[in-house]
């Protein structure tokens, strides 16, 4: 919001961040992930992840399936509990303390691959539920906010429908509006376009691009390389639970350093 995205990219043009804890964006740190391990039984999904995300920075996480991308962002809002290390979001450290968890969840919006809209509620009620219940916003105010957000994701006319009556692309845009209704400081996107028909992918990506342009701090797990190239401040490549390489899109798509990154990119591009 403070500066246009173009200005932000300047200076970091072509730079290589060997260390994932060097922060882009506006400078101060929004999310700090340090030494995080995550086990599912004997399987180690995350191995010593270090990552810092600056305020207003857009991070795109790519990597083969099973590499721990989703697990990483699910740890950030405690949908998964990390086993070692620390995660700090906007100055609050995640712990078993339910108040810390709730505080972080209030500031963190999440968009899922499978939308996860509430099928028994109308679009409007989906969006107003959390502001009214968690933020104690009066109904009228919440509905005005919801209509504003629906206009932003370009489907205000669907407010009274149920999710089941919408297309996949529309549902995902409602899901984005629902997350934004809590006025979060961070948005986490877990493969938001992977469940969509090809012709609907762009309508969702456009909304996300706009959000990035407005200065939202975002971590996006995706396979959309075009989006990564256009919007990301930094791209994080993960494999087998580790961060293999971090860099600007320019670095990533022209001269990646690591063999595994090259192999992955050659497979998907």
């Amino acid at each position: 919001m403070t500066e246009p995205a173009d200005a932000r990219d300047e200076g970091s043009e072509g730079a290589v961040f060997a260390d994932a804890t060097v922060v882009g964006g506006s400078g101060d740190v929004m999310i700090e992930v340090f030494g995080v391990d995550k086990f599912f039984g004997d399987f180690q999904a995350l191995k010593g992840i270090d990552l810092s995300v600056g305020r207003q920075e857009v991070i795109v996480v790519i990597g083969p399936s099973g590499s721990g991308k989703s697990t990483l962002i699910r740890c950030i809002n405690r949908l998964e509990k990390h086993d070692h290390g620390s995660i700090v979001v906007d100055g609050v450290e995640l712990s078993d303390d339910i108040r810390a968890i709730q505080a972080i969840r209030r500031e963190t919006g999440m968009v899922f691959q499978s939308f996860n809209l509430f099928p028994h509620l109308t679009v409007l009620d989906n969006i107003t539920l959390a502001p009214r219940q968690v933020r104690k916003m009066p109904r009228q105010e919440a509905e005005a906010l919801a209509m504003e957000l629906l206009a932003r994701v370009r489907i205000p006319e669907q407010a009274r429908k149920h999710p089941g009556q919408l297309s996949g692309g529309q549902q995902q845009r409602v899901a984005i509006a629902r997350a934004l209704a809590m006025q979060p400081k961070v948005m986490l996107f877990d493969e938001p376009t992977s469940a969509l028909d090809p012709e609907m992918i762009n309508e969702v990506l456009d909304v996300m691009k706009e959000l990035a342009r407005e200065g939202m701090t975002m971590i996006v797990v995706t396979h959309e390389m075009g989006f990564a190239r256009e919007v990301a401040d930094r791209v994080v490549f993960m494999a087998e639970g580790q961060i293999v390489e971090v860099g600007t899109p320019e670095h990533f798509f022209t001269r990646p350093a690591e063999e595994r990154t090259k192999l992955f990119l050659s497979q998907i591009l």
């Binding site: 949908l79 969840r105 996860n116 099928p119 968690v134």
Partner: protein, 405 residues
Amino acid sequence: MSTAPMSPATWVRHNLFRNRRDAITTVIAAVVVGWVVFQTLRFVFGTARWEVVRANLTLFLVGRYPADEQWRIVAVLIAAAAVAGLVTGVLTKRRRRAAIADDAPLPPLPFARRLGLIGARYWPALVLLLVLLLLARTSTPWVVAGAVIVAAVVGRLVGGALPPKVGIVLYALPVVLPFVALPFLTGPLGWDDWGGMMLTILLATVSMIACFPLGLLLALGRRSTLPALRGLSIGVIEFFRGVPLVALVLMSDVGLGFFFPRDALPGRVVRVTIAFTIFTAAYVAEIVRGGLQSVPRGQTEAAQALGLPPVRMMALVVLPQALRNVIPALVGQFISLFKDTTLVFIIGFLDVLSVADNVIQQPDFRGQGLFAESLVFAAALFWVGAYTLSRESQRIERRLGVGSR
């Protein structure tokens, strides 16, 4: 199904006589159905001697409740009708408001059309009422039926006129009323004096209303992370599902006296109602648990990601979906409970079925083989209740299913 309108002849050819096999099936089915319908009609309007029912109508309806005190039951009926009307009025108004908020106002229907809809909805009960009134020998039942209907209509109108905020208080009424009003209304007589259809309705209604919240709590308890709560819930559910209902009914009546001082125990009807309630609650708990499991994990994750605290997540996101998924199973359980109340005959209560069994032993009717008449009548009473429950559940399902996946 073809959408184009068909002439009756085309419809018949298309649906009943499309080919040789269809034609044979149609003919055989028609013969069977025709024969059954003919025999039934001949019995009902011809050979059956309904005198046994006619003479014992009061016994069928209220058991041996003393004639001087029957006004109390009438008062209960009127109060229940008024409350039902009131709740319907409030709910209808609320639904209209919601529809207006959703920019899809429900057009007000003309009075005749509304009567028609009510008729289509409750025709079995209305037909039964008419039969009862025609069987009656005095004019009292007509007055009672009239008063009950008037009470329901007045309640409905008052409910529709109340300001919407009163709604919450109203939810408590049907729950509180039986506990406050009934003992007062029953006066010197207790619930133990109830009999006939009224006893069946009393047992079934109270158990149904009470078993649902209990079952819900047991289901949530069984999914709790607190070991003590989970253990208690599992214990209650598995014990009461594992014991025959007959055993529980007997236990409630005679068995409890061995464990507790008799004076400390509530009356027999209350005890057996509790037995029905807990027994059904155990089944309801498992049905609800199944419903909870049918809600995808993504739903709870989305609610958590939005920062909804656990209780609100359960109440606003998970339970509404879980319950919608299990309405058919729940209603099946309720219908089952309704019919299982007949088991009280083994502890000597005079419910509808016991009455049906007893009246054919009366001096006037003994040895005349009138089983069919009295059993068909009792069965008809049960069928009307069960069918109405089933129809209402389908209505609820349709209403909740709007715009669902």
